[in-house]
Symmetry: C2
Subunit: 232 residues, 2 copies
Amino acid sequence: MTDRVPRVVPHFHEALEGLKERLLVMGGLAEERVRACLQALVERDEVQAGAVRRGDAPVNRLHVDIDQRCVALIALNQPMAADLRAIVAAVKINTDLERVGDLAVNIAEAVLRYLAQPPVPGLLDIPRMADLAQRMLRDALDAYVRRDLTLADQVLAADDSLDALKAQVHHALVAQMRAEPSIIEPALDLLLVSRHLERIGDHATNIAEDVIFMVTARDVRHSGQEDDDAAR
Amino acid sequence: MTDRVPRVVPHFHEALEGLKERLLVMGGLAEERVRACLQALVERDEVQAGAVRRGDAPVNRLHVDIDQRCVALIALNQPMAADLRAIVAAVKINTDLERVGDLAVNIAEAVLRYLAQPPVPGLLDIPRMADLAQRMLRDALDAYVRRDLTLADQVLAADDSLDALKAQVHHALVAQMRAEPSIIEPALDLLLVSRHLERIGDHATNIAEDVIFMVTARDVRHSGQEDDDAAR
């Protein structure tokens, strides 16, 4: 570091762009880990599943780094309104992406247990769920970076499709378990994989909601739920 | 509100204390919801389970309120260092507590499905898991308010006990499902309840980690994991 380089954060908006860039990198890593576990499941590749299980460190390092950058950006620049909302959103999105990394570890563990047992008849719509969850994650982060409300709304809509796929997978696996109790344990591992994928979709949904809050300063979270509560 | 009450944030530290107070109220609500679902399960009380399923609105309202207070506190007071870390921690803790409220809904749904089916032989250690998860949540929030690192460490230690209980419950339920395939579906619902309780413990752990970060400015998250990665 030379004398001419400022020791603290450089230009604020440059630093904010750098933060967004890092969130995209982290999202890309998290998405790749989900893709790799599912490939390991489909191709029965224990080596690859093991690599995903062990490979969470880069996501975790980015998690700590982004968190510290967010706090530093607020402390040193005292941003107002829209910029502050963008940084608070980054704190939350960072947490969601870290959890997606954890879920990839959980999926890899379930895949490793699954591959050590006799296979169940088929993987049903689990690979399709994984594709959808990955796309939701990518779209939610693009929506954050581009401040794109239409894309954020698409993520919210896609979550309903993911939940429907999960319900189908659940019913099919329970029917298989009843018909053939010897496959209860591997079927439970597939059930877990489908639940973890559903939770990845939930994290993408959280990100999309944070984008809507950041762009509009309007809190869409829980807005539908109160109506549901009243209707039940 | 009378004319004498200031419309914006009053004295900063008073407002920060008010924020902590609200987090405690939200934590108390979330904990009570977990307690109520488990009581509904033990006493086979569908009315109470239904009330928990429908009753997430107060937690959700506090979630939105606390989030807005955090952003306003930062924007209007430009806090530095320790105070800023306390508010950023509040943003994260708020998210964790909101998810605990959601998990209480998920548990209530599983309990309602469970109660509509023939019961499985017993609830195993599920009530004990619920007691432990509630205590972890309470301790984590007390640790936040009192800046108590010893208590935060106790929460981290308790999470290992909760995970061990969950593993026992899992094995016992799988054994029951194998022995009696007709109880696969109710046993799956109990399995889900135990997983949701484990996740409540994970949220308490997140809160304890945020407390350690807030008090020490040291990031304990992921510190053990890198070693694990290297060891495997």
